[in-house]
């Protein structure tokens, strides 16, 4: 075959494949917005569900998800960033640091439902926190720990080596060097990873199934030991477990969840691109 013609055909096929990946994304978004927008109202967002979830709003689910995101962050970000600092700034290339790196790679690939099992085994049962916001947040926090460590590691590694050398040569201690000449320049990268982790926490269902999520709980949680509703689980429940929910309410719930997650991702993308423009080295 004529190579020019072969090239034309091949490029057309590749383009088609790319469209097959990207177009469904648009279709999904359009369907959800098109069918869900009519459900969105002040009442839907900020009132309690009524009549077995067939009426009223989804406020407890929205609030519950925000609590879980917050809880996971409080736990996972300090631990993850410090672990990354250890790996990049302190560990030499010994068996311990290799073990840590290997573990993190593998932690990232463990299915979310297995994290759910772990959370059930350790936080709910072993520590006796019960199904609660505390258990759920810790479970989600452990789930995003590898994401946070990995992105923080990349951010720290992208800070040029000579910043450290210069700082040390001026008589700064090791920690002062990290605190004043490394962390500030790695911060945007760390933030980006953190927000992407948040997006994942907000959307995950499997890890909260048995650690916190309540099927139907038309009141707000009073403490970290209470159960709570959460948006992704709520969407699962009203689309598979409870018959007779109006279609636009389901789509509306999906729309709220999607909006929350995409906003978090958008924030991460904006931070990243602003940082790239500002970067001078």
């Amino acid at each position: 075959m004529n190579p020019r013609l072969a090239q034309k055909i091949a490029f057309a096929v590749l383009l088609l494949a790319t469209l097959l990946v990207v177009l469904p994304v648009l279709v999904i978004l359009l369907i959800i917005v098109g069918k869900g927008a009519s459900a969105i109202s002040w009442d839907f967002l900020f009132s309690m569900p009524r009549d077995g979830m067939t009426a009223g709003g989804i406020f407890p689910a929205i609030l519950g998800t925000l609590y879980l995101v917050l809880g996971a962050i409080i736990f996972a970000v300090p631990l993850g960033v410090m672990a990354a600092v250890y790996l990049v700034e302190y560990s030499s290339d010994n068996w311990l640091s290799r073990l840590v790196k290997l573990s993190i790679v593998n932690l990232a690939g463990v299915p979310s439902v297995v994290y759910g099992l772990f959370g059930l085994g350790i936080f709910v049962t072993f520590f006796g926190f019960g199904a609660s916001i505390l258990s759920g947040s810790l479970t989600l926090g452990i789930m995003i720990l590898p994401v946070i460590i990995t992105s923080a590691r990349e951010a720290l590694e992208s800070v040029p080596r000579h910043f450290r050398t210069v700082s040390l040569s001026l008589g700064a201690s090791r920690w002062q060097t990290i605190r004043h000449s490394v962390l500030p320049h790695a911060l945007p990268g760390i933030l980006t990873g953190m927000i992407l982790g948040l997006g994942r926490v907000a959307g995950e269902t499997a890890p909260i199934l048995f650690t916190v999520a309540a099927f139907y709980l038309p009141r707000l949680p009073q403490s970290v030991f209470d159960q709570t509703m959460a948006l992704p689980y709520h969407l699962y429940v009203i689309s598979t477990q409870v018959p007779g929910i109006a279609e636009n309410v389901r789509y509306g719930t999906a729309l709220v969840l999607l909006t929350l997650v995409l906003l978090l991702n958008l924030a991460a993308i904006l931070i990243r691109s602003r940082f790239r423009k500002k970067k001078k080295w």
Partner: protein
Amino acid sequence: MVDQAAKFSIRAFHVHYGQLSALRGLDLEIRANEIFTVIGPANSGKTTFLHSLNRLIDLVPVSRCQGEIRLDGVDIRRGLEIEALRRKVGIVFALPLPLPISIFENVVYGLRMQGIRDPRRLNDAVERSLRESYLWEEVKDRLRTPAMNLSGGQQQRLCMARILAGQPDVLLFDEPTSGLDPISTARIEETMLILKEKYTIVLVTNNVSQAARVGDRTAFFLMGDMIEVSDTGKMFTTPADQRTSDYITGKFG
């Protein structure tokens, strides 16, 4: 026993990188208020030597040092905290490496790390050290602007000011003009000649004529050995070793 004027006295000093021997059996004294220049081809151990003097060598994980280096009679490994040593023995690197912060913050970086917060002291230190490195007039109106916006020569003089702010004893220069144009180079050299009144200077350079211009005494390093050391004038007129003579006349290097 110790020479009164000796700033650094180095005895039987060796450096290894893993299996590789980088510096062997170095015995040397560096006198106060001299410009001591070190010349030699690439991989001769010049930078290793310089980084040994303020223990930047410790940053290389595989490095091992033997022997001893004394600063004013004090062993730099046992008698002195590493941060204090590095404040006393400042270094200017081959490339201008300002930190990506303002001019002012670059200069006071070392002071802030010592915990000095008094704005008067910091302002005074900035003006004094920028004057000493002949940068004050050029930057006094834009101290809060990013140091990265300065020209290469200005950045290098900022790096000098940054060390001077901490009132060191010794200044180490690691091929400080290798990235600069001839005019900036001349300014740096002039500055060094003035600075030696107050400080001891160790200058590593791969530019032989620079050593001849500014050096009081010169050492020639080759593949980890110090071949000879003498007054700069003597080395450039009547070198004792054939290899020294070959190097400074440009037969290799």
